[in-house]
Symmetry: C4
Subunit: 417 residues, 4 copies
Amino acid sequence: MSPFLTYAAVFLGTVGPAAVQALDNGLALTPQMGWNTWNRFGCDISEDTVVSAAKALVEHNLTAYGYEYIIMDDCWHADSRDPDTGAPRANTDRFPNGIKGVSDQVHALGLKIGIYSDAGKYTCGGKFGSLGFEEIDAKTYAEWEIDYLKYDNCFNEGQAGTPQISYDRYAKMTKALNATGRPILYSICNWGEDGPWNFAPTIANSWRISGDIMDTFDRYDERCPCTSVIDCKYAGYHCAMARIIDFAAPVLQKARKGAWNDMDIMEVGLGGMNYDEYVTHFSFWAMLKSPMLLGMDLTTMSNETLSIITNDAVIALNQDPWASPANRQWKRELPDGGNIQLWQGSLVDNQFVIALMNASPKEQTVDVEFFDAFFDQGKTYQQQPYRLFDLWQKDDKGKWGKDLGIFQGSIPNVKLG
Amino acid sequence: MSPFLTYAAVFLGTVGPAAVQALDNGLALTPQMGWNTWNRFGCDISEDTVVSAAKALVEHNLTAYGYEYIIMDDCWHADSRDPDTGAPRANTDRFPNGIKGVSDQVHALGLKIGIYSDAGKYTCGGKFGSLGFEEIDAKTYAEWEIDYLKYDNCFNEGQAGTPQISYDRYAKMTKALNATGRPILYSICNWGEDGPWNFAPTIANSWRISGDIMDTFDRYDERCPCTSVIDCKYAGYHCAMARIIDFAAPVLQKARKGAWNDMDIMEVGLGGMNYDEYVTHFSFWAMLKSPMLLGMDLTTMSNETLSIITNDAVIALNQDPWASPANRQWKRELPDGGNIQLWQGSLVDNQFVIALMNASPKEQTVDVEFFDAFFDQGKTYQQQPYRLFDLWQKDDKGKWGKDLGIFQGSIPNVKLG
Amino acid sequence: MSPFLTYAAVFLGTVGPAAVQALDNGLALTPQMGWNTWNRFGCDISEDTVVSAAKALVEHNLTAYGYEYIIMDDCWHADSRDPDTGAPRANTDRFPNGIKGVSDQVHALGLKIGIYSDAGKYTCGGKFGSLGFEEIDAKTYAEWEIDYLKYDNCFNEGQAGTPQISYDRYAKMTKALNATGRPILYSICNWGEDGPWNFAPTIANSWRISGDIMDTFDRYDERCPCTSVIDCKYAGYHCAMARIIDFAAPVLQKARKGAWNDMDIMEVGLGGMNYDEYVTHFSFWAMLKSPMLLGMDLTTMSNETLSIITNDAVIALNQDPWASPANRQWKRELPDGGNIQLWQGSLVDNQFVIALMNASPKEQTVDVEFFDAFFDQGKTYQQQPYRLFDLWQKDDKGKWGKDLGIFQGSIPNVKLG
Amino acid sequence: MSPFLTYAAVFLGTVGPAAVQALDNGLALTPQMGWNTWNRFGCDISEDTVVSAAKALVEHNLTAYGYEYIIMDDCWHADSRDPDTGAPRANTDRFPNGIKGVSDQVHALGLKIGIYSDAGKYTCGGKFGSLGFEEIDAKTYAEWEIDYLKYDNCFNEGQAGTPQISYDRYAKMTKALNATGRPILYSICNWGEDGPWNFAPTIANSWRISGDIMDTFDRYDERCPCTSVIDCKYAGYHCAMARIIDFAAPVLQKARKGAWNDMDIMEVGLGGMNYDEYVTHFSFWAMLKSPMLLGMDLTTMSNETLSIITNDAVIALNQDPWASPANRQWKRELPDGGNIQLWQGSLVDNQFVIALMNASPKEQTVDVEFFDAFFDQGKTYQQQPYRLFDLWQKDDKGKWGKDLGIFQGSIPNVKLG
């Protein structure tokens, strides 16, 4: 049982949106999937951290579910660039075979390798940044056979404040990556400043929308102060999972094939939430078409965690070719605190996903009117025969029929704060 | 009976504002009227869609009421520009005679033809945009004998964030259109970003003020998140009709002859609202001097719909030579939800329009004090003899008199949400 | 009896702020005083409007109180500039002797003459603007022996959005005026956009802070939508008198000798408020160091109006050499609506002005603690002997003493809305 | 007894953040400590003011606690720059030996000397500013052997509005200071405009975050109008001590070694607050890693004041090599007004500081759950043995133990308003 219900409803007949791929590097036609060092290891990474994660990913057969990128986040760096060439280089103690050595091992496992840099003077961890070094950095990444770049926003020398200024700074790296001739998935991380959902779709495959995630269900933290990501001038960090869902709600429509809203690396399996909460977390990242990046220690992952991240029905929501993020139909504040939410999204072949979320400390019983669930689709759909499946119970909830005007479901409580 | 009351009050005597035409192309001296493909057909358009609508418009004698533009919205495009010349070109399957072929047929019916493009890399539907191609596109439109350009805002490469940046981007097309020598009504659609009511009156004939309209009376939808269009950084879409009226309220004064606030294509006849609600919708678009663009399928329009869009008294409010949008005198939130509103506007020949709107689920009886209704005009008008007409009942409500200090009217309920 | 009490409190001893004159044209060392055509006559002005006002001002001996500028607002213009020279020129029907003819007559009366233009393509009334014509316009004004320029913000071609952009646009005229060699008081009117209190003190003698005033005490009007002038993106118009006081409160400290916050032309005598309300209006414009520009018809002014605008004690608050605007010490919302406010300001010679304002529909009795009234001055002043004068009753309220910890005053009601 | 409790909790074991020094001038690796003329003397300063303060600082043995900078704030200036060279020069009446003379005397006492200028046309006190004179000013300061520059924001000629514009203006002085070859601590004071926590860490050693402090515990003052410093367009002044703590809360994480959030010169000893309130003030400036600048008259300081500013345990919080500002874990509004707050921060050697603040007019008894106090550290820390010390009572509160799930403390009231 989980703190939300996810159904797929299948209808007869077909309609479909026009699909446009925004960035023409051919990558991320569905949201990228993989693993990133940061949430579990922070700055404390080495060749072993990366390679052992890659091996664990293969051993757990996660490639069969679509996970393919192993991403080295911040702190792979030497203390300085090569003084002669200006090229970036790795810390030789922790990366004795260099980044190319890691890259080769990851590739040998049939996976792809990602790296991290920052569109500023320093990275957030205080290493050398790429601002002003875009060309040599992209060229070096290509030589290292890098497949993915996460590109951060610390110490940006004031180059922010209008979409134009931010676009120019991030587009420099787009151009440099394209010039290498190697397809490199470009994942920008400017925390939503200046509205990347508006300026980034033609220059990046994904863009972070908020400050960094915190491993808790829903807790206000002063370090993540904005109430909305629209025109947030201070994204911060320590943003609870449910707050990131709130942040995403209005900007979801900006996603396109090849260009996704990035809700940050997932916390599933890191210990701050319970099973039901992680199921909710995983499901929403899937439905809202966020990149699906794991963040726990793959080498010590529990079976419970493995069961969550390998729900193929939920992953299919994320990788659906329709590429249409679900929308929140309503969010109801509850008199005793917390709220419940109804989400709905379109899938291929006339299927829809419907989800109820309970972000309150009590179990809730909710009636969902078909008028609300299919408001976007209109009267025809509100009165059509359909068939329901529960994506977590793997339960076929019903036969084709047209009498049901209301869903009803009971949703367990979560711990708030 | 309708969910609002619209009266015209006629007084003795005359006053009048100075009139200035902002953009000197001589067009849209009153708000443009016509029909647009988008609300009903979206991307699914062809020569037949456009030409059959044009024929239906003529057959229903709508030209007699002022409707004259037939506007092809997004998706008339081929997959790419002409590889040799860079010129735009139409999809040859759906437009076998090209845009010029459509243009000729529409002109032959005595109508004018409009087209759509986007001040970005792609259109919102993913077709090629005009950013960087302004001159060749304007030149080609003129060769196709286009009379009207709707110019959108998707994929704008970060060229937004200050009025200056947005002005520069949109003024490039103004210049290109002017250079063709053909008068082309220029309707910009940047969803209100950076305040087009401030920057656009000298470069465009109209400007959208919000995200796209949704065919419902008044329902909060998270995809239209701003509470005001002033400095809204994310216009979104799915904006209910009554929310667009709220959005328009503070910026109405910025309209000028030749330069109008565009509240988006109307939803009248598309099925999401009832008769009373569409009457309200149509009346407000008229009173607030929005362009009056129909959006339903003209070939299958009901008689009820036809009766709404051919109310000549209401259309006269829109096309009044005084060019003065009505103002909201008050908006009262009701204890049980919803609100009522009083609007008033000046017309030629010492006439005024007065409207009451009921945006609540209950019928409301309202007393309107003359002090409020004629607050702008002052004591003289508040005490003068007048005569009332009901513009929907076509009812002459009274004789000249000066005793009436209060209107009273009962307004039926609407369905909210 | 008035809806507020104004006392001057005199203490022993002296302290004083350093005084800096921001703009070095030597003008407006105290706020400018005079008369402007707009509030009463709008666009309907002529040589006679201006000259008869000037004569009336002299006849009423208003020069003795400091009123000296006669300002022609919008619509003195011909339909176009001189086609050969590009120079501005007046409407010959309404100004048969040209602006120079008016200027000569006004100067002959011992007064100074002001003119109006707009830092845009058109003026707000649709006449030719000065954007791009700064040099020839300033030169022509100097030839016409103009002493004052009000410089508006309509149709500004998107040149707004950051202080830098606005500064550059308005500083062009500063430079042009300076280049003429004639001292011309420069009064900018960009409605507070981009914070002129920050960017304008070194380029202008005064700057408007809000949308245009409306002749009413306190009424919310949707056409003046911002709740604060700080970062207001849409100043609008129809701003009630008490709202402008609210708007001014936080930015008052930015005034300097030669550089003032302009609260707009006064409405005193125009008929929308009663005597008590106009007394409040006049007193606050004085205390807050706004320019004191009359707006009624001087030729038909009532004795009551004359008595208000010639209160020399109140005018002395405005022209005090200390140049220190009063501050609001508190504003208390009342349970039945409206509010009361305590203001205090420093004057020369260890005098202070204290004012209580009642913006509610009921008479209010208020106790004012000396701790609050002299919070800025600290304990010494809170316990010192003082002497009080009532500036409207011209009543000496008391002898030197130090026992009084509390003022008490009864303030009559006002009409709200 | 003080209105808050400050504990240091020591745990077994060690973890630690990566440390990055943002600005490479090698200064302010911990927050700067010293004394500044402004809060007590304003514009009324002279050689004697500065030198006698320096002597008093030495006599009170404050150097042993880390206080080392003597900073001359505004108004040391002559009326104009040197007309021949353009170099800055001091007022010869008040500084008969010039700034170099003061500098020599301060250096002879083993202290460092700071100066003030403004990135604008004038300083806030109306003296000549440095905008456009960065190079000659920095060069002159170096010749005067200046060790510290406070750089203000008045009369900035509109050069603000985006981080880029502000960065460029302030970075000009960074470059000029660096070019002198003399290490000069660079303390910018743009009141938080355009987010210096984002743009300044690579160009300055500290940045003010708000308008000027007022010597009162917590009182709303309209002259400090913003409710948050994030995107505040009008910082103002007269900001109460507790409001500055509120302002700092979300931006604290942006501090780095060599780059600090500046909460303004302290008011300790100036008379507006009582002992308990100043203890709170001093403790928070320490915990939040603000520069610790004294502002009272050092020559007449009371023993009570001296006892506060020489609490070495509290100073150690500020100068802790971990360089990690405390965070607010919660702030609870109280039903009768005011609030209580829980703060926690990490120190070296597995120590933590925990503080409770009572900003209400009543004594409060508070239970603090370990889950909250160590939320950031997680379960391990929430259940570990620890030992407590009270930093003001110098009281060892307990032995190692692991049974304590809750702190309990009684906090005395403060005077509000």
